[in-house]
């Protein structure tokens, strides 16, 4: 903190040397808060400008989407008839959309759990894998693993999708090359993304691959924030590594886990980029089709903007329900209580 103060003093000193072009009113007179030009312009620009952009490009589209979802608007026609909840009725009787929703639900169940468990395990190995004597130590040379694990997070999702599309390629891909060279000839030209039994699993693997490293770094940061004395105390009390991880580490980084769970779930409800890159048509038998793809197709290919907006609303509600559920479960299992040691 002292260094920060020193810095600000330096800045002040420099500021006094700069001659302001406009004659600023003496500041000490503003005690009673008269509205000076300085103050008004400050609020207009500082609050007005960001808010204007935010409301025009973010909030107003969100609000309008709810309105559009109640019409039969096809976008380019001037007429839009109010049809109430008809679009929603159509969606919930549409087999393809329900299939897409089912796939999203599958993703929401599997992706967060797999990603978080694996990244927690890796984070635990990195932070407390060292000697059991003395201060709790991380594994030696662990920064290498951390740096490498984070690589996928810096790669654009579309590039990840395209790259894995080539790896899964039946004839020239890396995966089948490895498997056949290990003697598994049945995979010689197996189409991982073209078989409805494997397409979804292969796709999930790609998404997990892309995010484990990020959450691992997040959890490592969380674990490092736990005072070392707690680990030591647990060890003196006779807790082994596994017990320490379950009873000390996880409860103490619970908030991080909850955040990770919500982020991963929101991603699973979207998943558009990965699906578009790996199987743009929805995969064999629509086995990897998700709601966002269906929305995009309905809006920008078929031009049924009313129906597409209804899909957007369903997606938004699903997101809210999911976040609410995670908060609720975390609270019911005692997440808001202080962890007493």
């Amino acid at each position: 903190m002292t260094s920060v103060k020193g810095k600000s003093l330096r800045v002040d000193g420099g500021a006094s040397a700069v001659v302001a072009p406009e004659a600023a009113p003496p500041v000490y007179k503003r005690r009673r808060k008269p509205l000076t030009f300085d103050k008004i312009s400050f609020f207009v620009v500082f609050l007005g400008l960001p808010l204007a952009i935010y409301i025009v490009f973010v909030i107003s589209p969100f609000v309008q989407a709810f309105g559009y979802s109640l019409t039969d608007w096809s976008g380019f026609s001037p007429k839009q008839n109010f049809i109430g909840l008809e679009n929603y009725r159509r969606l919930f009787t549409d087999d393809i959309f329900m299939k897409a929703m089912g796939n999203n639900i599958l993703l929401v169940i599997v992706l967060p759990i797999v990603t978080i468990v694996l990244s927690l395990v890796l984070a635990t190995l990195v932070t407390v894998g060292g000697s059991s004597r003395g201060q709790t130590k991380g594994l030696r040379n662990s920064s290498f693993y951390r740096v490498v694990s984070f690589f996928p997070y810096t790669i654009p999702a579309i590039a990840i999708g395209i790259m894995w599309g080539q790896i899964y390629d039946p004839s020239g891909g890396l995966l089948n090359g490895i498997l056949t060279s290990l003697g598994m000839e049945q995979f010689k030209s197996f189409a991982w993304l073209g078989d409805k039994n494997t397409a979804m699993i292969a796709t999930m693997f790609v998404i997990v691959w892309g995010f484990i490293g990020f959450y691992m770094v997040l959890f490592v940061a969380g674990i490092k924030g736990i005072p070392a004395e707690l680990f030591e105390a647990a060890r003196i009390d006779g807790a082994g590594r596994f017990r320490t991880a379950v009873s000390i580490t996880i409860p103490l980084i619970r908030d991080n886990i909850q955040t990770a769970y919500i982020y991963m779930g929101i991603l699973a409800l979207d998943a558009f980029v990965y699906m578009a890159a790996l199987n743009s048509g929805g995969g064999p038998d629509n086995s990897t089709l998700v709601m966002s793809q269906q929305l995009f197709f309905t809006a920008f290919t078929k031009g049924q903007f009313g129906l597409a907006s209804a899909m957007g609303v369903v997606l938004a509600i699903a997101t809210l329900i999911f976040s609410g559920l995670v908060f609720l479960v975390n609270r019911l299992t005692g997440g808001d209580k202080d962890v007493s040691l």
Binding site: A24, V58, P61, Q64, S132, A157, A276
Partner: protein, 297 residues
Amino acid sequence: MTTQTASREMKSLHFNERKPAMTPADKVVGAVSHTALTIWSLIVILPLLWTFMSSFKTSSEIFASPFALPSQWRFDNYVKAWTEAGIGSYFLNSVIVVGSALVIVMVLGAMCAYVLARYVFFGSKAIYYLMLAGLTFPIFLAMVPLFFIMRNIGLLNTLPGLTLVYVGFALPFTVFFLFSFFKSLPHEITEAAALDGAGEWRTFFQVMLPMAKPGLASVAIFNFLGLWNQFLIPVAINAAGPRVLSQGLAAFAGQMGYAVDFGALFAAVTVTVVPVLIVYVIFQRQLQGSVSQGTSK
């Protein structure tokens, strides 16, 4: 530090008979950990290396064997990807759009967060929750109306339009992160600045903003990654405009279909991946630091 060494000494005194620092169990755990992490690292690195290697091969070489090294290290694929496929101009567009959006959103986001964090006025809480709403709703919900808003104001399929939308969608995250940051800065400093004669503007730009540098750096890194990787927004509102990198890459992969030039595709992916990867490796210390900062505060 001293207490830790002391306690370690005490412990080693206590367990004097079992002197070795690493017990057999430790060694096993260490070996298992290293093995697991090495396998994971390989799973991360191998696909990247393979992509890099394949970017030097011809299509027929790629199909002949996925492992064989290219017969010669030629750069034809890169030339093809950069010029014919247009990756070069997409790259430039991305740099322009993401660069300007990043600068604008950092300035506007910092200003907005500063006002919300340091001033109490009617509606400030409401604005705060409005920002929260923007973070919770999926971008997908906004796409259809956004398309028509952009068309009505004549910014559909333009880079400035894309930039503005990027600013809008990066704003809530920026404001949230910096809100807590500005809140934690001591009030005495603002007072001191005011006593020294600084107006609101000057207090912000010459006193508060420099103090928020660590927070700004963290947010800027995450915003950069988020915007650079953005795919949905450009394909929705910039479909017919000058393409950005993620969009161009998808178009290139899609138009190739099942035939032609896989070597060029690998080269295009490599061109997309490598610059950011290099920047990451250079700045990884700061990035790891900012992740821990974001979580521990």
